[in-house]
């Protein structure tokens, strides 16, 4: 059974008390973590009682226990999915061998780098979102923000556990550094670009949780295949929590669209400027936000051709999305993959060895998954009887990493010159004016059951509670 030991200082299902050295190391890290939360966690929220979900075990009935808690008292802990008996490596050169319970010396540096990069995104997003509580569109949304924040905190714990347990002194130093970097800090920024961007308003927050947390899902899915079993089990449990974050994003954007469509139908207006006078977010602005978050996020998958990706795969560190459901040889030597390349200023297809293109494979899986959700947003517009449709831009649009960086590409995938880009960029990416308008809508709506004018109430509350439930008590 994987029941968590609450008598320990650090709730866990990994028999922490049997490893005194590790326990002491983590108990020293814990106060630093709490200090970080006090400084960089949700601004001004420490005294609130928030209706949060806490894991008490990793079985289906145990990991979603709901109750009001103060966030600094949240039981952050270390939970691994239940071990699979006799788990085998599913891909790469070690396919068929027993999964590793310890880090092989030759893969130590690469694994540490993978874990640190993943771990760094978790506190980064908490930092990016720390002021949003001041402008929540409802108590329900405020609660969802806090839930996302505490679970990102727990995901940091998950990665720090691996660093402390398996990487000795290097690991402990990396764990400290995770609390020292700051999102957007000029001198000591977070590792990945998208995690140094601001999340200035709630539309950006929903877009971030929809697109960027989905990148997290795909990275975690790829790591859940890892030959390093503790990493696999950790990420598998993190995935169950990640789903809620994407829900917040998908339903948030959907409710924004729903509200705008309601006003469009009531008033018969379509002109963005006129709709803005009614205090809702016009659909072209939603599209421009989408273009920005989508393009910034697909950069996170890395260069389209990468020898590191090939090494990570062949050595069994990181698999593909749903590796087990694919029916190829899971070694991929000699396989090819069609990627998009730039030749003479044009986009062309190019066959490359699949092992080197694994970043692109994961990116394409991500694109399919995220486009499906955009189509569900279109269903909301369609249901309202309106003709507008949202779409994801071409994957070469607004890229800063890989072979498209520096290239100007329109959302429909034409390579264009600088002049055409400059003439149109305000139609394609959210402008200062768009952001200022959205920012002007951000109020502070926190009475139970009230929702800001620019967003529709949710279809259903959290954990079967009504939508006017007191999700946060401000005390």
């Amino acid at each position: 059974m994987s029941t968590i030991n609450y008598s320990d200082k650090i709730p866990n299902n990994v028999n922490l008390s049997e490893d005194r050295t590790l326990q002491r190391a983590l108990e020293q890290w814990q106060p630093n973590y709490l200090n970080w939360w006090q400084d960089m966690g949700p601004d001004g929220s420490h005294g609130y009682d928030v209706y949060l979900r806490t894991a008490t075990s990793t079985t289906p009935d145990g990991w979603a226990q709901f109750g009001h808690v103060k966030m600094p008292d949240y039981r952050w802990g270390i939970f691994l999915a239940q071990a699979e008996a006799d788990r085998r490596v599913g891909f790469g050169d070690h396919q068929g061998e027993a999964a590793w319970q310890d880090v092989p010396g030759e893969h130590r540096a690469n694994l540490r780098r993978i874990i640190v990069t993943q771990g760094d995104t978790e506190p980064a997003s908490v930092e990016q979102q720390r002021h949003l509580g001041k402008t929540a569109p409802s108590m329900y949304d405020l609660r969802n923000l806090f839930q996302v924040n505490v679970e990102e905190g727990r995901h940091l714990w998950a990665m720090v556990y691996l660093l402390h347990k398996h990487f000795g002194r290097d690991g402990r130093e990396e764990a400290e550094a995770l609390l020292e970097r700051r999102s957007g800090d000029r001198d000591n920024p977070r590792i990945l670009g998208a995690f140094n961007e601001e999340t200035p308003d709630w539309l950006a927050f929903y877009m971030f949780t929809y697109f960027t947390d989905r990148d997290g899902k795909f990275q975690l899915c790829a790591l859940a295949e890892s030959a390093f079993d503790p990493l696999s089990r950790t990420t598998r449990f993190m995935l169950t929590e990640e789903a809620h974050h994407m829900f917040v994003g998908e339903s948030g954007v959907s409710r924004v669209i729903q509200r705008t469509c309601e006003v469009m139908k009531q008033t018969g207006l379509e002109d963005p400027a006129e709709l803005r006078r009614h205090g809702v977010i016009d659909l072209p602005t939603v599209q421009r936000y989408l273009n920005f978050h989508y393009s910034v996020t697909i950069d996170l998958f890395g260069a389209d051709q990468s020898s590191n990706a090939a090494i990570f795969y062949s050595s069994g560190l990181k698999g593909r999305y749903e590796e087990g459901k694919r029916d190829d040889d899971h070694v991929l030597k000699g396989s090819h993959y069609k990627i998009l390349d730039v030749k003479d200023g044009q986009l062309v297809d190019k066959e490359v060895p699949m092992l080197n293109a694994l970043n692109e494979v994961l990116r394409d899986d991500y694109i399919r998954d995220s486009s499906a959700g955009v189509n569900r947003w279109n269903k909301v517009i369609e249901k309202a009887g309106l003709a507008f449709r949202l779409g994801v831009p071409h994957k070469a649009f607004n890229r800063h990493i890989g072979s498209f960086s520096g290239l100007r590409v329109s959302p429909d995938g034409r390579v264009i010159g600088e002049a055409e880009w400059q003439a149109n960029v305000n139609r394609w990416l959210a402008t200062e004016e768009d952001r200022a308008y959205v920012a002007s809508l951000m109020g502070h709506v926190v009475e139970p059951g009230r929702y800001a004018n620019w967003i529709a109430p949710p279809a259903i509350g959290i954990n079967k509670q009504p939508v006017n439930f007191e999700y946060v008590r401000f005390n």
Partner: protein, 411 residues
């Protein structure tokens, strides 16, 4: 066959495609692999889902928690559900008429565990023991050994009900009275697909069929006809009834976190059942009997209303009649005894109206288990009894449901 056609309803488990975000959590969680998806929707296969609710709390959206009453024969197929952009409107329920002629229990073909249409408590009574759930799945079942298999009904009785004892050896499989286990018969069906899981309420108390042993008993009726009365051999029930001592059986579960008994002193049980619906009642009664024997009487009253066609077809008839009346107050109802008027459990309830009303006034949990047809009759009888006794039944009924004290499980 002039018997009126019995329409069987189930609570079909559906996912709201407008709220679902396709995160795969439910499919990952489902212990019996009832959930599947295509590029458009996630859907629940009505032939496999056993209503165990393991998927409900992990779902981040709430889209998973939809239950529509539908005639079983017209349950929405997987293909239909995959084509939806939104949930269909809930169907109006026809008023159930007179208690239908006793159709054979659909246990062999009604895997969505509970088809109850009347309100039933969404949680157990406050003092219920904490149940373990989903320890063993279809993919990773526990392996039980048959320790015994006996026919309960008289040799000349038309219906063949078996008492089956399964032993778990050293495997961890704790069960509470009212919980169920799942068994899928080995082999494949006519379409070459593995048989789906069937659910059986345990008939033994938490301390084992034999006290102190890691075993459990089931009450299984051999299905010989379908709902229209056409002869058909039930796959799972035949498999179980024909098992011999020493055979191995794959078992999943435990399932069920609602239909559980109260543990606090002074709590009364009002149990109403027909046929194999007696299994959980036997388990609860035996638990209380063992407590009493061990000198830890719970002091609550037990009242049982039990219906069958004839005494020869009433499972556990012998042992039941030997229990002292001061321990359990039992009323039997037989609907097919020659030369006698047909009597149903609701008739017995009315006859004992004053005692039932007294029990309803106290700290009592009510359990209904058996054929779907008894639901309406029993609820009508309870309403009538309350009216006579000056009790406000709608109010009381709602309170019982809200407080985890009114449990209905029918098929």
């Amino acid at each position: 066959m002039n018997a009126p056609e019995t329409i069987v309803f189930i609570q079909q488990h559906l996912i709201d495609p407008e709220v679902c975000i396709r995160c795969n959590t439910c499919e990952e969680t489902c212990p019996v692999d009832a959930i599947t998806h295509d590029s458009r929707n996630y859907v629940v296969d009505p032939a496999i889902c056993n209503g165990c609710n393991a998927c409900v709390s992990p779902c981040p959206t709430g889209s998973i928690d939809h239950w529509h009453p539908v005639p079983k024969a017209a349950a929405y197929s997987v293909e239909e559900q995959l084509s939806w952009d939104e949930l269909p409107p809930r169907q109006e329920m026809p008023v159930l008429g007179e208690m239908a002629e006793a159709a054979p229990p659909a246990a062999d073909e009604a895997p969505q565990a509970n088809a109850a249409l009347s309100p039933t408590s969404p949680k157990p009574p406050w003092s219920a023991a904490h149940p373990y759930l989903n320890l063993h799945t279809l993919k990773k079942p526990a392996l039980a050994t048959v320790a015994g298999n006996f026919r309960l009904t008289a040799p000349d009785a038309e219906c063949d009900i078996h008492h089956l004892v399964l032993d778990f050896g050293t495997q961890f499989f704790p069960l509470l009275e009212g919980q169920a286990i799942g068994i899928a018969p080995p082999g494949v069906d006519a379409n070459g697909r593995p048989h789906y899981l069937r659910m059986y309420s345990v008939a033994s108390p938490r301390t084992g069929e034999r006290e102190g042993y890691n075993n459990v008993s089931l009450t299984v009726k051999r299905v010989t006809a379908d709902h229209e009365g056409r002869p058909v051999a039930g796959v799972a029930s035949s498999y179980l009834c024909d098992l011999r001592k020493g055979d191995a059986v794959q078992v999943s579960g435990p399932f069920g976190d609602r239909f559980l008994m109260p543990n606090h002193p002074g709590s009364n049980l009002l149990m109403i059942c027909t046929g194999t619906g007696s299994a959980p009642m036997r388990a609860m009664t035996e638990h209380r009997r063992r407590l009493k024997e061990a000198g830890r009487p719970v002091d609550g009253r037990l009242m049982l209303f039990f219906g069958a066609r004839r005494p020869q077809e009433l499972p556990y008839f012998g042992p039941l009649t030997k229990l002292p009346p001061e321990f359990i107050d039992t009323s039997l109802a037989f609907s097919r005894v020659p030369e006698q008027p047909r009597r149903y459990v609701q008739d017995r309830l009315r006859e004992r109206g004053d005692d039932v009303a007294e029990l309803l006034r106290g700290d009592t949990c009510i359990y209904l288990c058996g054929l779907k047809g008894m639901e309406t009759g029993v609820l009508d009888a309870l309403a009538e009894i309350c009216a006579k006794a000056g009790l406000d039944w709608p109010l009381l009924h709602q309170r019982l449901v809200d407080e985890g004290r009114f449990h209905v499980e029918t098929y």
